[in-house]
Symmetry: C2
Subunit: 388 residues, 2 copies
């Protein structure tokens, strides 16, 4: 068992992230970044809390092209933000529906508006506006000279390549996830309600050292499952079921994201074959995943094997993705994504196929791209469909 890495990051990690962002901002003529989403604010500050689950309060971070980030946040978060490396913390007593941080942002950004400056915000794929749309429109109207550029590419480039400390956390939670799946054959048995298996798996992952298991979905049905994003039903497992659990467990705010398939009692031939095809598709992905290859290359390498059994292109839309502070991050292993793989990107390989009468099967492994090829962070799935 690997040693538990330290929690949090030394300040140099944030200094480095900020410097890399500011270099790009200067190149692009941006005076700053206005950020409001959990992963981005944590990336630049280390501010880490589950309180984001409350939709009540907006949170803002302004990252200037020079100097340290400025937090504009609800007073309830001030104590925690003061424990980070951030010094300039501006707060209001939130919630305040009439002015939830908007006048603080207006005051901060008015000098830039007066000179016609440009700031970056996240406007592109896989981003959301985590503030009320009405407040955003009011803020825009109050800053008529301010230009807003899309900073999705900038942030994406930064976050896609992980630091050694981030990779340590990801390796740690992937190892916890692997040990949890190792225990699954003794947790699952015919007659067990499927939702009880979910509870048992969550308890196992916590015992193995996970902080939390925010994501756990799966399927179980005779001869193959039909859906890969459902919560579990209380239906008891039975002989002939193909069972899949897909987990995103976390440690210190970093996710693993992989799944495992099992047959209860006996495995039907189509499911055994689907499993074999996906295992070999993953192998083709592993052989392709090295610096200089593209996500498109990964997609085609896996697709070629998948097409032995399914040439429909599937309904999942991609065959894997980035992994880090979020369960899924850029890039996507898809025909549209020509992102070049770089050393220290952490990715999932997630081939899937449809078979039989509307059945679907998914496989997933987690890897980090090293100079000489992929390093598995998850323990490789068994080459044949395990029968419990």
């Amino acid at each position: 068992m690997s040693e538990t890495p330290p929690r949090g990051f030394p300040e140099i990690e944030f200094v480095t992230r900020l410097g890399a962002a500011q270099t790009q901002m200067a190149d692009q003529g941006l005076s700053g970044l206005l950020l409001m989403t959990e992963a981005e604010i944590r990336y630049f500050t280390g501010f880490h809390t589950l309180f984001w689950q409350s939709p009540t309060r907006p949170w803002f971070l302004f990252v200037p092209v020079s100097g340290k980030p400025i937090a504009v946040i609800p007073e309830i978060g001030a104590a925690l933000m003061r424990s980070t490396w951030i010094e300039d913390i501006r707060t209001w007593s939130a919630p305040a529906p009439e002015d939830d941080g908007i006048s603080l942002l207006r005051d901060l950004l008015t000098p830039l508006s007066q000179i016609g400056g440009t700031i970056g915000m996240l406007k592109g794929p896989e981003t959301t506006l985590r503030m009320p749309l009405g407040d955003y429109e009011r803020l825009r109207a109050a800053l008529p000279g301010l230009q807003i550029a899309d900073a999705t590419g900038l942030i994406r480039r930064l976050r896609m390549v992980k630091s050694p400390a981030e990779i340590d956390k990801l390796a740690h939670i992937c190892a916890i996830g692997s040990r949890s799946f190792d225990a699954l054959p003794r947790l699952a048995h015919a007659g067990l309600p499927f939702d009880d298996l979910f509870r048992a798996f969550r308890r196992e992952a916590l015992s193995q050292g996970a902080d939390d298991v925010p994501y756990l979905v799966g399927g179980a049905a005779q001869g193959g499952y039909v859906d890969v994003i459902s919560p579990p039903t209380p239906t008891p497992l039975q002989d002939g079921d193909i069972v899949m659990l897909d987990t995103g467990a976390t440690w210190d705010g970093y996710f693993c994201d992989f799944d495992r398939n099992y047959a209860i009692g006996r495995a039907d031939d189509p499911s055994r074959r689907a499993y074999d095809v996906l295992w070999r598709a993953t192998q083709a992905g592993l052989e392709t995943a090295r610096p200089g290859a593209t996500c498109r290359d990964l997609f085609h390498a896996m697709s070629k094997v998948i097409s032995e059994m399914d040439d429909s292109g599937g309904d999942v839309g991609r065959l894997g993705h980035g992994l880090g502070m979020q369960l899924t991050e850029w890039p996507s292993h898809a025909a549209f994504d020509d992102t070049i793989l770089l050393e220290n990107m952490v990715l999932t390989l997630e081939p899937s196929l449809s078979y039989g009468d509307g059945r679907i099967m998914v496989h997933e492994e987690n890897i980090v791209i090293r100079a000489d090829g992929p390093e598995l962070l998850s323990t490789r799935a068994a080459p044949e469909l395990p029968v419990i």
Copy 2:
């Protein structure tokens, strides 16, 4: 122990919700609602998945002023959406950064744009735009005649009052939360790393029947904690610590949200007094919480007691809130909120105060408003600070 309620809802629940929405929409001249957030889509469809944790794909639901809702969603969700009462399901192979549902939405809404129709979206407090801002701007540009009104009030009125089936789910998870806290005195002891207590509490809640414990925060420190939204540190508990855990556990997609305070080994006088003040503030809230009173009344009733020890107004911004599919929902027990309490609203009472050298203490109970007053869903906290 109460009986476990059925999962999901009968179709009549969704018919009723839709009818109530459409009545309001007709009154306000809205041709439809365009929704994209998890709670709202689940509210009208029953579509329930943890897959929302992946930020990659947007999801849309159009609720017309007459007729059934129309889902515009990624193909990966089609099988699950087909298991709901929704019939018109339009999908695309997502992710597709060039067109993530936008042309499907444009086609759906163009007839309304051509006649200068108005639709509602969530633009107000406690809402977010869960789609890329750039895509939203492109959609607006493609529908020049379409008017967008803020439907926050409409949705808020619907969701604030819970149905009997929703209250059954909320009562069930609150009972699970209460039993989990009952077990805490045998889980916590001096010497236990605080993050291990979190793991033990999560395991206990799962054993008691929770589906998940998405929210768990707390504090532990000598003579009182200083922050109420932090993740736990590995620091061992020690005699003289005041410990607080605040949990949002879920069952079938509904949350409990309450906390409990304990002293390890011995309790200092200021913390005992703070506890007593907050217990009596909650009592004052319970005495006020009946149909016809306002959230402002609740705020003032609790504030009056709190001011015995702290008249600063605190930094939490409110003294409780709504509860349901989200950890926190409208309304807020705050001076600004004149929402009138109605039968079957489910609320938290959450008085807090600052004391000593930057210490904070919070108390919380969960209630449902009945015709003759509040019914506690959480088991009332002990009247004196429990010493473990």
